[in-house]
Amino acid sequence: MMDALLDGGLALSLPFLAWLVLHTEALSQAVVLFVAMGLMSALAWARLEAPDIALVEAAVGTGLTGALLMHTLSWTEESQAETRTRSTRWLGDALAATVLTAVLGWAVLALPLHSQGLGPMVKARLEESGVDHPVTAVLLNFRGYDTLLEIAVLLVAALGARAVNPRTERPSLETADDPLTGELFRMTTPSVLLLAGYLVWVGAHGPGGAFQAGAILAGGGVVAILTTRVGTPRMSSWQVRWALLTGPLLFVGVAVAPLFSGGQLLEFPPRLAGTLIFIVELALTVSITLVLLMFFPAVRPPKVEHEGTP
């Protein structure tokens, strides 16, 4: 009974929050509601027995995205929340969303019931993958392509973000020197490092892995950027470039190596698979942390722009 109540509440609150996000006047409120929606969906994923996804959603989808969006709000002007397109078209919007949901719902509910999915296949080959956790096995062994291309997407996005705003890596002149938050950062650093290390290690046996660990480290890094004089990693420095490339290069190396001994691309020898996956995950953690951190601009927004009246 309680379960049904919780599921029903979550399933109702998610679309409602989504609607609220898009229909509040103030952009800062919309972002806060968006973060709330992300936390609710992390709960929903925990209810759907997907703890890996709940972890990533809470750290990346909600934490880092929320911080990024909040940071953006201080750059773009808040005033242009469109007031004329509201209220008159409210009914049309609701109607369009309902029709779309009905069509999609029909398509999804028409799927054959009680299909087995790919679960049994993964379970049958889990022994050979080198890890005990099915999601890690799928990510790094059975569907290694996905993860390899995903890290490429991350790199391209970081390069693109830096390319359109080349001056964001200039360290900001007025660093905040708040003793409280700085002390908080120093106190939380050990636990952040411990948690990230644990998550990489546990990835082989349970929910966790490179993305979760990288997200948590990047979260700690964002706090460091905001509270200390560290500054974001600079694309111009060689150390940062090599650290960015460790994950992808090592992964490509591990993927290509079997080709020389008559194997296939991304085919790990079963004896070494566990070790190789752990090494690749460690390297990926470094790259993911840096990429996620580089999305975050170090420069504070200009305050003089919006003075308005001359």
Binding site: L22, W45, L68, L69, L113, G119, P134, D146, F295
Partner: protein
């Protein structure tokens, strides 16, 4: 009604709300938010479908796909946000030059 049906329906409503919002809003941050909501809806449907197995643990393959999806959606959001910042800077530069332009000439 199975719980997965409930969450799948919820995901589809989120997707629809996001898609409609993407078309009806003008502000770039609202559009980024709408695209993110659409993404969350799709991922929710995928995870719900992973639970359709009659017994035992859920299907791990959609879970791995969703993990990839979340990370990709974060990077697309970051790129969108960077573009938004660039646009707003160009706009403020335009405004500044049009303010000072008539005085100078």
């Amino acid at each position: 009604m199975n719980p997965w049906v409930l969450y799948a329906l919820s995901g589809m409503v989120m997707f629809s709300v996001g898609l409609v919002g993407l078309f009806t809003h003008q502000h770039v941050v609202k559009r980024i938010l709408a695209a993110n909501i659409m993404g969350s809806g799709v991922l929710l449907v995928l995870v719900a479908l992973a639970r359709r197995v009659p017994s035992g643990p859920p299907d791990p393959v959609p879970h791995a796909l969703v993990l990839t999806g979340i990370v990709v959606s974060v990077s697309s959001t970051a790129l969108g946000v960077a573009l938004a910042r660039r646009i707003s800077r160009l706009k403020s530069m335009d405004a500044a030059s049009s303010r000072t332009g008539p005085e100078g000439s």
